[in-house]
């Protein structure tokens, strides 16, 4: 490591006041400068921050966007979602491979371009899509892929390859993205106008306890999927012992098939920041953190600008709206590629510079969260709802939706339909109605809530979207008759294997075993006993896992087994002559024949 590099690392660490809690920002910056974070660089960071090198390595090795191997100056990350696959990502992948002359996971010999797969980047409505550094390339085709590579070979500047901007703020000077919003149905909560500061002023006219009462009266529940009552969460946080409190906004939208937060951040960031400020006032926090997933880095400069605008309008900062004693500001914390960080305690760990392992509970974040202080972690959409509740009143909000599930829900619709995109619908809507709205008369199956949700068949299309029936964080993936649900389940399991933090046994090991068993069935080597094994294993993984990831990861298998059992059974083989179909003798002998340098059949 040269003196210059050491000085660079030192400079970056000092930008963040040598605070180990900002390790993610530090290693992101180091990586942006030198292409990887390894060896002596790790030592230098550890020295500068006064921590052990293995602690730095532990964090760096956790996140998909950080690398200990040298990477190209440009990294192409092609989304490997099932929806992208249905829209032709295999052809795009082939074009990238051919044009670059490398395979996925490799870097071109000149060290300039790296090619990788990545899980959902939040673009299922315009798939297949890829990230090239921070720049999003939606609606890819083979031809476009080739054009991208040729352009990069010339100048390594992905932004210069964007020719048409998307609608709305996608065309903003600070975004300049080809992404489209695809807002198909606007509702009264998220997409209605909100004059800047209106809801904050109404909130400030009450005391914080009254604000919390309003939110409780509205019966607002968390929109991320778990559905915890928001008012109660705020109340616990406000009432917890301790002086300093924090408000964290979870914009780590990683559930495959979900992209609603992308659209809110692009078009309704004011509403979100309004909600964050109100939440800060309600719980007694002076600091809010927006945890922005690495895949949405293209929105960062724009969001920073919007925050700056609000500071100028005295909607952030000291004495907000002239309210003596209410100080609140927001900083953006970038993620670094880890789905599990959408789990609130993992998100807190990540904000503190650690691996994104979820924490043991209790203590809950409301008692001991960010930096040990009472913390409320809320979803992007939830905070938008809260702002609207303060503007329009709790009873106005509560009359929307159904009795147990008030308000509206943003659905991220993708897959086999005519109009993929964002739909703001009232809770209580039937699945069949959503299918009508988006033009999917041929739907055979719908995955609701993403891989961690459930796969329903036509007999379930009469069910309703609400917390008491089919709950969802918003993903609504539609599959036509020609799609193979067993394959889709295996694909989702792949995702969970990749994204498990590995902390607890059932999730770390169980998901691999589930995946192996599905692969056996897909490969025509499954037996009836495999279905029992899937069922039993799925139950253990769900029951014993430590966090929501493992508690839901068997869902793709269990819900397809429940609703599409026939598709599994059709693939099974009955054992014949006492021979188990699952045992592949040739495969079992491969290693031994390799070691002994014999070919099969030799003696």
């Amino acid at each position: 490591m040269s003196e210059r590099q050491t000085a660079d690392v030192r400079g970056i660490c000092r930008t963040y006041h040598r605070d180990p809690g900002r390790l993610i920002d530090i290693v992101r910056d180091v990586q942006a400068q030198s292409g990887c974070v390894a060896g002596a660089t790790i030592d230098a960071i550890a020295r500068e921050l006064g921590v052990h090198r293995v602690e730095v390595e532990s964090t760096v090795s956790f996140y998909a966007f950080l690398s200990q191997e040298p990477q190209g100056r440009v990294v192409i990350r092609l989304c490997d979602d099932i929806i992208d696959e249905m829209n032709g990502s295999a052809g795009v992948a082939e074009a990238f491979r051919e044009e670059l002359g490398i395979d996925f996971g490799e870097t071109t010999p000149d060290g300039k371009i790296t090619l990788e797969w990545t899980p959902c980047i939040g673009m299922c409505d315009q798939a297949p899509a890829a990230l090239v550094n921070d720049v999003v390339f939606p609606n890819l085709s083979r031809e476009v892929a080739r054009t991208i590579v040729r352009g990069l070979r010339e100048h390594l500047m992905p932004q210069r390859l964007i020719q048409h901007y998307g609608d709305g703020n996608n065309a903003h000077d600070l975004v300049q993205s080809a992404v489209s919003n695809n807002i198909r149905q606007q509702g009264p909560v998220v997409f209605a106008p909100m004059p800047a500061g209106e809801a904050i002023r109404l909130a400030l006219a009450m005391n914080p306890v009254e604000v919390i009462r309003q939110v409780k009266t509205s019966r607002l529940r968390g929109r991320g999927g778990a559905g915890f009552p928001t008012g109660m969460k705020w109340e616990f946080t406000r009432n917890a012992a301790g002086g300093q409190r924090y408000l964290l906004c979870n914009a780590d939208e990683g559930e495959p098939g979900t992209f609603k937060d992308r659209v809110i951040l692009t078009e309704r960031s004011d509403l979100l920041f309004e909600g964050m400020t109100i939440a800060g006032y309600a719980i007694g926090a002076d600091t809010g953190i927006l945890y922005l997933r690495a895949e949405y880095a293209y929105l960062r400069r724009f969001l920073e600008h919007m925050l700056q605008e609000r500071r100028r309008q005295e909607l952030l900062g000291k004495g907000i709206c002239g309210h003596e004693g209410f100080d609140f500001d927001i900083r953006i914390q970038m993620g670094a590629g880890a789905y599990v960080c959408g789990e609130e305690t993992a998100l807190i760990n990540s904000c503190e510079g650690f691996r994104g392992d979820p924490r043991n509970r209790p203590p809950f974040p409301a008692q001991e969260g960010y930096r040990g202080c009472p913390t409320s972690v809320n979803n992007v959409e939830t905070l938008c709802c809260a702002a609207r509740i303060l503007q329009k009143g709790a009873s106005w909000f509560a009359q929307l939706g159904s009795s147990g599930s008030t308000g509206t829900k943003l659905l991220s619709v993708s897959g086999d339909c005519m109009r993929p995109g964002i739909y703001e619908v009232p809770f209580g809507i039937k699945i069949a109605e959503v299918l009508d709205l988006c033009g999917a008369p041929e739907a055979h199956a719908v995955q609701i809530g993403g891989p961690s949700g459930q796969m329903l068949g036509q007999d379930g299309f009469g069910r309703t979207i609400c917390y008491d029936d089919v709950a969802t964080g918003g993903a609504f993936m539609i599959f036509g008759r020609e799609r193979d649900v067993v394959y889709i389940a295996a694909k989702f399991l792949d995702f969970f294997v990749e994204e498990s933090c590995g902390y607890c046994t059932p999730c770390r090991v169980g998901n691999v075993l589930l995946k192996d068993s599905l692969d056996r069935i897909l490969g025509g080597r499954g037996e009836p006993r495999d279905l029992d094994l899937l069922q039993r294993l799925g139950k253990t993984v769900k029951a014993c896992s430590r966090c929501g990831l493992g508690q839901t990861s068997p869902n793709p298998v269990l819900t397809t087994l429940e609703h599409f059992r026939g598709e599994y059974e059709a693939r099974l083989q009955m054992p014949t002559n006492g021979r188990r179909a699952s045992f592949d003798i040739q495969a079992a002998l491969t290693e031994a024949t390799r070691i002994t340098s014999r070919s099969r059949g030799e003696r």
């Binding site: 293995v54 390595e57 090795s61 498990s500 590995g502 046994t505 770390r508 075993l513």
Partner: protein, 237 residues
């Protein structure tokens, strides 16, 4: 002395102290809840999940869940035993465990648990992973083939030895124990006297040149199943 907390474990009413976990309260009452990552004197970790119990109908890790008044805990039921058996199986197939020539045999908590649960062979296919051995240190051997990622060495080194020699790197199935040096254990200040070495429940962290000292038949779990001390002692554990 503060108020006692009443709870029921498998139909037996016991009392515990505020702040105790289910595992601690059970142990004080002479009830053994199987565990691997938990060790008295180390921060509860909740990673192996072997101590999973059903609390008022919901699965919880007994090592991290505090007791509460009126709790109804299911510990030694068929449902719970079945799940624990699955977890033990998972730990066996995930690594490369060769009990017959492992020097920890007879003193290994994973092996002892398998015996207690009547497991002679795992029901799941072996994964046969490729894992590193680090024999660089003059007195200590790390064999990651046998590591179950319980984090005992991580906690003991950090909190007891005050060294932070071990930590986890990677994630998911790629997760493994790393050392506080770029290359290997020889580059750290690890010593054979470190508490971190003593706490390994399996044969992943070993002192060199001291193996096989106790004859078969006299090893820790040769005569009594794991957990017997707690069940026979009826307290303190």
């Amino acid at each position: 002395m503060s108020e006692k907390i009443n709870l029921t474990i498998d139909g037996r009413e016991i009392q515990g102290d505020p702040g105790q976990t289910i595992l601690e309260a059970a142990e004080a009452a002479g009830i053994y809840i199987p565990r691997l990552c938990h060790l008295k004197g180390l921060t509860p970790f909740g990673s192996c999940r072997i101590c999973t119990v059903i609390v008022n109908g919901r699965p919880q890790a007994a090592c991290t869940q505090p007791i509460a008044e009126g709790m109804y805990v299911e510990n030694d039921t068929e449902e719970v035993r079945e799940m624990r058996g699955d977890l033990i199986d998972m730990l066996f197939v995930e690594g490369n465990h060769f009990c017959m020539f492992c020097e920890k045999s007879g003193n290994c908590e994973l092996q002892a648990l398998a015996y207690r649960f009547g497991i002679t062979a795992p029901q799941y296919p072996y994964m046969f992973p490729t894992r590193d051995v680090d024999a660089s240190h003059p007195d200590i051997l790390i064999d990651r083939n046998r590591c179950i990622l319980c984090g005992r060495c991580v906690r003991a080194s950090r909190d007891v030895d005050g060294k932070h020699i071990f930590d986890f790197v990677g994630r998911g199935p790629e997760k493994r124990i790393a050392v506080n040096a770029e290359a290997d254990l020889a580059g750290t200040n690890a010593e054979a006297s470190d508490r971190a070495l003593e706490v390994c429940p399996v044969g992943a962290l070993l002192r060199k040149r001291v193996g096989y000292a106790v004859p078969v038949g006299q090893r820790r779990y040769d005569t009594e199943p794991i957990g017997s001390d707690i069940e026979n002692g009826g307290g303190n554990g």
